[in-house]
């Protein structure tokens, strides 16, 4: 397909190759490792290849939103303090608490996550990550039912059908479609022409704009995902005897096509999002979906169906893996006497019941994400925030410790949304000699000992 003689004829007017660096973008969970940075002395001159979301991450470096000094809240206003006092204060707050909770951790490197778990072990605290209310739920169901997953290379090379179920990737992970749907793989040389896309959503999102003639758009009624999945579970075995009225607001013709695609395609990749996390009626759509995948994989004559959960934060998956290796659990870990114990609690129930006396928030913004009632509980107890930017939580926290931006100002390991580890690089020095998350947490851990 590629003609050799056209290759490698570069324009000479561009800058020297030595000025450019390939880095990994930590803007979202896709972790694009192909971003090109043109450096001019110590500054970043040009950023090539990032989407708007990734660009925002780089904007952060010099934005007025950066936190550059440790801050403490006194009489409802924030005061600058120096690092020694700040760390002492943090340690003092931790030592004074009996039931501390650590939360967040999905926007930091794996090294930092490991240190956070060590801190939680040390102080017999409760640790949980954002994935409890997101991606992690899929894994919880997977541990009960089993799951078939795939990674991006498989989708690029093998997938002929991609299903976006309740996820609007164009808005949340802009580059995902260009990587999986429009790319040309080894067994899918013609690329988009041979790959079909099915979108299931409650309204016509921006993702619908990439649909072509072979594709299928299914607009379902709100809260009816579970209906549709149950329907598919029933009918994917007895082919094409579909009731005339259709199901969940989708007409018979489309359902017939959907079932025929599900049964006759070689590699179906289902991508789901937050929409299926919520229980619907008495059942849970994610549970049903996993069961559907199991049934399909059993009854299909050819091919495979696999599932990928699309999360937002860049290292949400990382916490699951680090925590599993360290404690044997993937989320909601309660330590007692240095050992993880079985618990039914999650961060939500902890906050709801006010069963905590100190919160340590690392690299996330719960105030802007949690329902107001829970945010109120969170703000009623002392709070330490470890983050690099101002946010809703910044306006509430009692002690704020700034950190460097991983992937730009410090390096680290992160896990892509498909559970593949990717290295994040350091390209410039952080301002004010701010420490990385990993180093800062290590310092706190050392002071605790």
């Amino acid at each position: 397909m590629i003609n050799k003689k056209f290759l490698i004829k570069k324009n000479t007017e561009f800058k020297k190759m030595s000025d450019q660096i390939k880095i990994t973008c930590s803007g979202c969970s896709l972790l694009c490792d192909d971003i090109i940075i043109i450096k001019h002395e110590k500054d970043i001159e040009k950023i090539l290849g990032t989407c708007l979301k990734g660009k925002e991450k780089f904007n952060q470096i010099i934005s007025k939103n950066r936190i550059l000094n440790p801050l403490i809240r006194k009489n409802n206003s924030l005061e600058k303090i120096n690092w020694d006092i700040a760390l002492d204060k943090a340690v003092q707050m931790i030592n004074n608490s009996i039931k501390p909770v650590l939360y967040g951790l999905s926007n930091i490197s794996c090294e930092a996550q490991l240190n956070a778990i060590k801190i939680a072990r040390k102080i017999n605290g409760f640790i949980d990550s954002n994935s409890t209310i997101c991606q992690g739920q899929v894994l919880n169901f997977a541990s009960k039912i089993g799951i078939t997953t795939m990674t991006l290379t498989d989708i690029i090379n093998k997938s002929d059908v991609i299903i976006l179920w309740g996820v609007n990737v164009v808005e949340s992970i802009p580059r995902l479609l260009s990587k999986i749907l429009f790319s040309r793989g080894k067994f899918r040389i013609t690329g988009r022409e041979i790959k079909s896309l099915i979108i299931v959503d409650i309204y016509k999102t921006a993702s619908f704009n990439v649909l072509g003639t072979r594709d299928l758009a299914l607009i379902i009624k709100p809260d009816n995902d579970i209906e549709l999945i149950r329907f598919l579970k029933k009918y994917c075995r007895e082919e094409y005897k579909i009731p005339a009225g259709g199901n969940s607001g989708i007409d018979k013709q489309d359902l017939e096509r959907l079932i025929s695609i599900l049964l006759n395609s070689e590699h179906i990749s289902i991508l789901t999002g937050q929409a299926l996390i919520k229980p619907q009626g008495e059942g849970h759509p994610m549970k049903e979906l996993l069961e559907l995948i199991k049934i399909l994989n059993k009854y299909k004559k050819i091919g495979r169906v696999s599932l990928m959960m699309v999360g937002g934060h860049y290292n949400m998956v990382g916490f699951e893996h680090i925590a599993l290796a360290e404690t044997g659990k993937n989320q909601s870990i309660q330590f007692r006497n240095g050992k993880s114990v079985q618990t039914e609690e999650t961060i939500i129930s902890k906050l709801q019941n006010q069963d905590f006396d100190l919160s340590i928030i690392v690299g996330t913004d719960p105030i802007s994400h949690f329902p107001a009632a829970i945010s109120k509980n969170l703000s009623s107890k002392p709070m330490i925030l470890i983050d690099n930017k101002k946010s809703g939580t910044y306006l509430i926290a009692d002690l704020i410790l700034p950190t460097a931006i991983t992937g730009i100002e410090c390096e680290g390991l992160a896990f892509r949304l498909d559970h593949v580890p990717i290295k994040l690089k350091k390209i410039i020095d952080p301002p004010n000699n701010i420490l990385s998350d990993a180093k800062l947490l290590e310092n706190i851990l050392m002071k605790l000992e």
Partner: protein
């Protein structure tokens, strides 16, 4: 901790060191800076361990385990709410693994199934796995980038690229797992045997094995190719095994260095007890007795309460039938087109015919292969057995009595055909040390560092509270079992990591890796740049992303 002294002397122990051909001699062992020495450089700060009437042996080495990969994490996830798993394996955390391995006398383990794209996770876990030295084998069974070279048999190109891949991923050796079986991913059928040509590629699985063997010999990697035979634990494996053995018999490789410290095999068969599921191992034994260039590890079945399934063999999962229906949860994970991995749970049972065959095969092979240096002890941990079953397994090998007692309540159908029951052969203690310590070290090419007590090797030592020379191991297996259950001292690089009941985990091990001998850097660069183009075309990341930047303190390069 007071365990850290610069110099340790182990006095009057009974030394067993098969590689140096020492069988129960009384000797002192001197350790300085983590290494066994002939003479101390100074006499200050010497810690003395009295080993009078105690047995001193090298620390054990595991040649085939699964302890630090994504698959293990899937097991942990599946077992999160499984009471039996939590009770018996305590969540299988890294510290739990390290603790159990150390208390059974191990200081070196080989993670046997790592996909190159996931090697970063393994390295991350390795760094957090205390005390133990470790190495990983890269699974290149379905490695597309080398497809063209496998077809044309371009040994040079393969070896250059393997070398670069190993040095990027910090791998130690190569594992081949169902070569190019994944090419028919879209069909739910399986190929007949490994002699069958691919539907999309013009070569067979045998070709892949063969070319990999030649490339590895060219690079002179410490360990030979680590072969997984397709369809293990099923009768189909026998065909595939015979095809491979036939091919291996034809391969003759001359080595310049042929000292007894150097590995002799060109091919290592992984968990060989699962290959002859009809219970008839005569062909395999005959082949090994005639051919020095193949060795195998035997994974012993410990009949635990519950065992994780960790495999990448699609044939195994297709054939696997869970009769109880209790363990039908399986996580199927496809890794960057490098192969699939399957994880689940199962329970081995003495009343299951197949499980008994698996159990007896390993004992049969261990007893009947003449040259014990071709046999390595492994558990395929945690797939077949927990490490804490080792004392029990040792007693089955060392004593006929122990075997008989254990076999009493086994499946009747199995007992009818069993030859083990009436087999009078036993291993002597020296043989046992060979298959658990010296032979794995030799097969892995680590005799310079591990598996013996020669001057200059790492001071990795076990001290057993038993005088082996005064014991009839066949009769008095209970006392041997007891000695292995609580090894008195485990010393790792001169650090006492286990003393009595206490285990100390505050010490870091090293990651062993090898790159092989490269004859032309230029050619290597050319091949690598060509191959990185392949990654650009088809992979979701660049080839350079495989690079693992590990702190030099954690690394040890072998070749």
């Amino acid at each position: 901790m007071s365990n850290k002294s610069d110099r340790i002397i182990i006095k009057n122990g009974l030394i067993f060191d098969p590689l140096l051909k020492i069988k129960g001699e009384k000797k002192d062992i001197l350790i300085e800076k983590g290494i066994i020495v002939e003479k101390f450089s100074s006499n200050n700060n010497i810690k003395e361990i009295n080993a009078e009437n105690k047995t001193v042996i090298p620390a054990a080495i595991d040649i085939h385990t699964h302890i630090a990969s994504q698959q293990i994490n899937w097991v942990r996830l599946l077992g999160k709410e499984n009471k039996e798993f939590q009770k018996n394996w305590e969540g299988l955390t890294l510290r739990y693994i390290a603790r159990n391995y150390i208390s059974n006398g191990y200081t070196f383990i080989t993670e046997a199934n790592v996909y190159p794209s996931l090697s970063k996770q393994t390295i991350f876990n390795f760094i957090n796995l205390p005390v133990l030295d470790k190495a990983m084998l890269l699974n290149l069974g379905n490695f597309w980038p080398l497809e063209f070279e496998f077809e044309k048999g371009k040994i040079d190109e393969i070896s250059y690229f393997l070398s670069d891949l190993l040095s990027k991923c910090k791998g130690f050796g190569i594992k081949a797992y169902n070569p190019f079986e994944g090419e028919i991913w879209n069909l739910n059928t399986l190929r007949e045997n490994i002699k069958e040509k691919g539907k999309l590629y013009n070569f067979t699985a045998i070709d892949v094995y063969k070319h990999l063997i030649y490339s590895i010999e060219k690079l002179d990697l410490p360990h030979s190719i680590h072969c997984h035979i397709e369809g293990y634990e099923h009768i189909e494996a026998k065909d595939n095994l015979n095809i491979l053995l036939e091919e291996l018999a034809k391969i003759k490789i001359d080595r310049i260095d042929s000292s007894r410290f150097k590995r002799e095999q060109i091919c290592h068969l992984a968990h060989a007890n699962s290959l002859n599921m009809d219970g008839d191992n005569t062909d395999l034994i005959k082949f090994l007795n005639n051919n020095k260039n193949v060795d195998l590890d035997l994974a012993f079945i410990g009949f635990d309460e519950i065992n994780p399934i960790i495999t990448s063999d699609r044939r195994f999962i297709t054939n696997y039938k869970d009769s109880s229906g209790k363990f039908n949860k399986i996580i199927i994970n496809s890794n960057e087109s490098e192969g699939d991995s399957y994880t689940g749970f199962r329970k081995f049972s003495k009343s299951n015919y197949n499980d008994c065959i698996l159990w007896s095969n390993s004992i049969d092979l261990a007893l009947n292969i003449k040259n014990k240096w071709q046999v390595q002890f492994s558990l395929n941990f945690p797939h077949y057995s927990h490490v804490n079953k080792i004392p029990k397994i040792a007693s089955w090998l060392l004593s006929k009595e122990a075997r008989k007692i254990f076999m009493e309540d086994m499946d009747n159908k199995y007992l009818k055909i069993s030859s083990i029951f009436n087999n009078d052969n036993v291993l002597d203690f020296n043989d046992y040390i060979i298959i658990t310590r010296a032979s794995p070290a030799k097969s892995l090419g680590l005799t310079k560092y591990k598996g013996n007590l020669d001057v200059g090797t790492d001071a990795d030592i076990n001290i057993l509270d038993i005088d082996i020379t005064k014991i009839d191991s066949n009769r008095d297996f209970k006392s041997i079992e007891k000695a292995f259950e609580n090894i008195e001292y485990v010393i790792k690089n001169g650090n006492i990591v286990k003393k009595g009941d206490k285990i100390f985990l505050g010490y870091e091990g090293k990651i062993f890796w090898a790159e092989g001998k490269i004859y032309s850097q230029e050619d290597k660069l050319r091949v690598v740049s060509k191959k990185s183009e392949f990654y650009q075309k088809y992979y979701s990341y660049f080839y350079n992303m495989l690079e693992n930047n590990v702190n030099k303190d954690f690394l040890k390069k072998i070749i």
